[in-house]
């Protein structure tokens, strides 16, 4: 199977496999960090790599209006792009409860919950980016992660603004995770820019023609 955008850039199944494998390892690293933080087992899905038009982005994660906690990391350095951690609102509140040890539904301060979630996101996305750096030998400078609790579409479109300046298509590499025995699940999504993909696949020995 070949996926291509209107500029004729295409990704072979081999290249997508390589990207999926890289993201699998990155997400694995992030899940280890979460596991250590919560002292719980984390289940990870196999990553999905999808080349989709900008208009299709809002169908990711169950619709543009879905309420999610989003932590957004802007990738800078040798390569650019965005990494997002999206957790559905109820999951996010349960997670915040575990983190600040207030039980399952913290009624307390929203800002404290937000801070706990942002910090967790920072640790997870940092671990993700670290693994990406190790695997590719590239230098990534993580920007300070930013937090929002709002509609998924509003969060994703913001994270895509830089990419959209030059592209009509984006590659989304998604990994779902689930905290074992808890109703906590979420998604890690990487939107690499096309230069990043070229570099990553080249480093992995499957350059894009």
């Amino acid at each position: 199977m070949l996926m291509s955008d209107k500029e004729g850039r295409s990704f072979s199944e081999l290249q997508l496999d390589a990207l999926r494998e890289v993201c699998n390892i990155c997400a694995g690293n992030a899940s280890i960090a979460l596991s250590q933080l919560l002292l719980k087992k984390i289940d990870l899905s196999v990553p999905r790599a999808t080349l989709l038009p900008l208009t299709g982005v809002n169908d990711l994660v169950g619709g543009a209006e879905k309420q999610v906690a989003g932590i957004y990391l802007h990738m800078e350095g040798d390569c650019g792009g965005s990494i997002l951690l999206l957790i559905e609102k109820e999951s996010a509140m349960t997670l915040a409860g575990l983190l600040i040890k207030q039980g399952e539904t913290p009624s307390g301060d929203q800002v404290v919950c937000a801070s706990a979630l942002q910090e967790t996101g920072s640790i997870l996305l940092g671990a993700y980016l670290n693994a990406l750096g190790h695997l590719t030998g590239l230098y990534f400078k993580p920007a300070v992660p930013a937090f929002a609790l709002d509609m998924a579409g509003a969060i994703m479109s913001y994270a895509l603004a830089d990419l959209a300046a030059a592209e009509d298509f984006v590659l989304a590499i998604e990994t779902d995770f689930q905290v074992s025995g808890q109703w906590i699940g979420g998604h890690m999504i990487m939107f690499p820019d096309f230069g990043t993909m070229d570099i990553i696949t080249e480093r992995l020995g499957v350059p894009i023609e």
Binding site: Q67, A148, S157
Partner: protein, 170 residues
């Protein structure tokens, strides 16, 4: 009940009075609703960026503020709208992200190239409207939260909903 037609990221759609045009989950993006209330024609663009700087694509005619406003006006006039009756309502352009510092005080996130992007798109849309002499009939922009827009073409009614800020009608 009218049919609801979704206008996704960077899309632009023009239609007659039988439709409701909707954009879901607007963040920094701006929904530009342009309409002729007499001929009952309208269009909606889901704008992601302020300036095209020469870039253009048929796939994403709504992406850049300047091009999107021009294109909306052109397509409406082509369909029979009168240029001098055109009106515009705009929604969105918020700053979605905050960085919560150690002191637990929320700050605006200094995102790199997209810094202040919501406000910049709103400005660019207004500039484009001014150049075409189209009046701004309503606006719900700014803030730090996501919005959904439903634009009833037959009446020019624009309904804005959000998670924590209720419903507004423009």
């Amino acid at each position: 009940m009218s049919d609801v037609v979704t206008v996704g990221l960077a899309e632009l759609k023009v239609t007659d009075n039988t439709h409701v045009l909707a954009s879901f989950g607007l963040g920094s993006c701006v929904a530009v609703a342009l309409f002729d209330p007499i001929r009952k024609l309208g269009g909606l663009a889901h704008v992601m960026l302020p300036e095209s700087r020469g870039r253009e694509s048929d796939l994403t005619p709504g992406k850049f503020a300047d091009k999107a406003v021009e294109r909306l006006a052109e397509e409406l006039v082509e369909k029979g709208a009168r240029r001098r009756s055109l009106q515009c309502k705009i929604v969105g352009g918020s700053e979605m992200f905050q960085i919560i510092s150690a002191g637990l005080r929320a700050q605006k996130a200094p995102a790199a190239a997209s810094g202040n992007i919501g406000a910049r798109i709103v400005e660019a849309v207004k500039r484009a409207l001014e150049q075409l002499g189209i009046p701004l009939a309503g606006e719900d922009t700014g803030g730090n939260y996501g919005r959904t827009v439903r634009f009833e073409v037959s009446t020019g009614r624009v309904e804005v909903s959000s998670i924590n800020h209720g419903k507004i009608v423009l």
